[in-house]
Symmetry: C2
Subunit: 449 residues, 2 copies
């Protein structure tokens, strides 16, 4: 169902209620243009914004200007320091028996091959589990090709299933003596755009060069493997760590009327991977949460303060969320929410609420149901930028987005504005607006209030 | 309609006729695996094959081995010489006011910027016509950004409408004093994969650096243009001409029984652009024509010799077709056909036949109609590799493929095997088999017989 259809189907909601009624606010938001304006501006005027680099710093300045222009209060940057890794040159090829170039990209924290590059015999593993069971040192000097069989899932659960190929595959290969590793991209598209993302070398494991192949390249390499001859690969990857640098969170507020109430945090992350322009990850998320907060702002003063958190340095280790918690963890947080799963429509709402607030939970579910959003059976678990607050007792609402095509774009050069459907983006804003309109004013005790 | 549906719908054809009946051959070809085997092998074992380079030479050796193994007669390479241009480094970026990297690729025949690169102010033209009307020398030292509005068309006619932006835009910009030009890719996708292809600098015009932007990059640059500030671009492109080199045509035959009859040529091109693996352009085409010829071969001896022509150096100027005509133009050519528009289903048949052969035309149209192929109202016009033969009087049949998604892939890194639908590929083979089964045996006088 599209937002346009919903807008047509819901005139009774739009006309039967007062302007600052949650349902009316929700339906007006189906024509939202604020979120589009934010993500269009950020991707056009800043583009990619790797954490701790000059591009992320420009994004923070852009953010302060934009949030100030939107009328938010207490707009500020809260800086922090974090370790930075930057991409270098990257080239790969099959040397023999079928010489071909490979489209690949280094994973975050990959070691360098050095300027001279590296050549070795390929050893194939169909799964991370197969790699884990390889005998110690059997990979000595080899280049591992780690495959997997990720598929599309609406809820993104295939990322949990196949993401470990990227998260820990390189560390496992390094422990067993491999010279380098290439993995099939953790992604669901069929384009020559490899998916980057961090990989984590375990403490004490010396990092090796680690790259992701695009899916068509992984397909091609697997066809070569099936032919049975020994395969030699050549890699040149020259990324490097550049030490600790400055990142920062951008914060803006809609001040509440009740000084005894806890804060409502609505979060996304401002940084992006370096290959695309960070439209769906997470330009859309920060646009959605700010647009919804702005809509509450213009409708009147909420009881609770709504705090917009555009976190820095999420992609490379959620440093922004940790920095926020370190600074603000002592404050009362009633409710925390995050949007970091693209720009497609919300299809499910879930909660992590105190038992006493079950009435509020039902009101929220009813408020978003007309947008085609059902109530899930699980528990809300937030996102990377608010995890630390959840551990401290904040209540959570998840507005789960449709992730069916998210991993076509995730961490690739293809994460660009044209992938965002304005109608689905506006449906997100409508859902967030409805939840904020109710939750920011609710009398129920939430979180650690 | 898919080939699978057709196969289910047509049991009467398959069972009501003798095995070497055209309809039976056609229907059996709906389960063809020969074409897939050829294009899978070529893209896996050779990959990209730029004309006049070592990769194209490897492709010729691969082709001789494959066509010999398939049982064709007179399998041979006919070499020729042609000028070769090779890609170098390529990088582009917006310097100000919104610094961002651009995904671009040099057009064939582009000049080099030199190792030091080139910087200049952008000047925007929405169409080639607007560029043509710009005053002489008004572009002096500028970098032209030439935009256009290509859309999908089933018959590929939008390539004729918007292709000239690439074919002649750079020459027009050079004549008016531009330092360089970037064009929006002549393509219909939304991926960060720019479309290369030759550009033709007119005689006497000194080539300038010329590149294609991916569509998302062109979108982004246009959004910057709309903001109204002066934009500076930086380009580094280091392609170079490397002089005349060896290319060649690969030829294989199904010998006919009637020495007085003309030859039937079925053509595609073996070379590809360097960015992808040349799956749809034109691995699929050479696979389709050879698979159909093989199916005729095993069904018995045709009256006319069927000559498979896997032409070299088509992409860079149809040198292979010209070389074939120079060598074989004096022979009698009854019928010539080419497959060079991807791997999607055939939807239309057209003819360029002698008037006396109108009965044969109707038989051919009737033979392919059960495959969902209608008769067009225009005239067959062949393809680049057989144009010279058509000028000498050969008759032509076009089996027009559905080009709706062809320009998503054309001349990009994304031209890879996974884009081919095996069922649609087999429908092509079925159509070609039906036409060859009838036309190679027809008593009618065709071409210059």
């Amino acid at each position: 169902m599209t937002a346009a259809l919903l807008a047509t189907a819901l005139p009774t909601f739009a006309f039967a209620q007062t302007p600052d009624d949650p349902a009316a606010l929700r339906d007006a938001a189906l024509k939202d243009e604020i979120a589009w304006d934010i993500v269009e501006g950020l991707t056009t005027e800043v583009g990619s914004r790797l954490a701790g680099t000059e591009t992320e710093a420009r994004a923070r300045q852009w953010a302060v200007t934009k949030l100030t222009a939107l009328g938010f209060s207490n707009v500020r940057i809260e800086e922090f320091q974090m370790p930075v890794w930057v991409r270098g040159e990257e080239m790969g090829s099959v040397v023999s028996p079928y010489p071909q170039n490979l489209a690949l990209t280094a994973l975050g924290n990959s070691a360098s091959t050095g300027e001279q590059g590296l050549e070795g015999e390929l050893i194939y593993f169909p799964t991370l589990e197969a790699l884990k069971t390889a005998s110690a040192n059997s990979l000595h000097g080899k280049i591992v090709f780690l495959d997997h069989a990720m598929n599309r899932t609406q809820d993104g659960s295939s990322y949990e299933a196949f993401g470990p190929a990227r998260f820990s595959g390189p560390s496992v290969a390094a422990q067993k003596g491999a010279a380098a590793i290439v993995i099939r991209s953790v992604g669901t598209d069929s384009h020559r755009n490899p998916h980057t993302g961090v990989t984590d070398f375990e403490k004490g494991v010396k990092p090796i060069p680690a790259a992701a192949l695009s899916n068509p390249d992984a397909d091609n390499l697997f066809r070569m493997v099936k032919r049975g001859q020994a395969i030699r690969l050549r890699l040149k990857l020259t990324p490097r760590p550049v030490g600790r640098r400055t990142s920062g969170n951008v914060i803006a507020e809609v001040p509440g009327s009740d000084p005894s109430a806890g804060v409502v945090v609505v979060a996304g992350h401002l940084d992006s991977w370096d290959l695309g322009t960070g439209a769906v990850d997470d330009g859309a998320g920060i646009a959605i949460v700010a647009a919804a907060a702005k809509r509450i702002m213009v409708s009147g003063t909420p009881r609770r303060t709504i705090r917009v958190l555009w976190a820095g340095a999420e992609e490379v280790g959620a440093y922004g969320g940790d920095a926020y918690a370190a600074t603000h963890g002592g404050e009362k947080h009633a409710l925390v929410m995050e949007s970091d799963f693209g720009a497609d429509r919300v299809w499910q709402i879930e909660f992590n609420f105190p038992k006493a607030a079950s009435g509020l939970r039902d009101r929220l579910a009813a408020a978003v149901a007309p947008l085609g959003i059902g109530k899930g059976k699980g528990e809300a678990n937030g996102g990377a930028d608010i995890n630390a607050l959840i551990k401290k007792g904040a209540s959570v609402v998840d507005l789960r987005q449709d992730g069916t095509r998210y991993f076509d774009l995730h961490h690739t050069p293809d994460d660009t504005l044209d992938k965002i459907d304005p109608e689905q983006l506006a449906q997100n804003v409508a859902a967030w607006t409805a939840v904020l309109a109710i939750a920011a004013n609710a009398p129920d005790k939430l979180g650690n209030e």
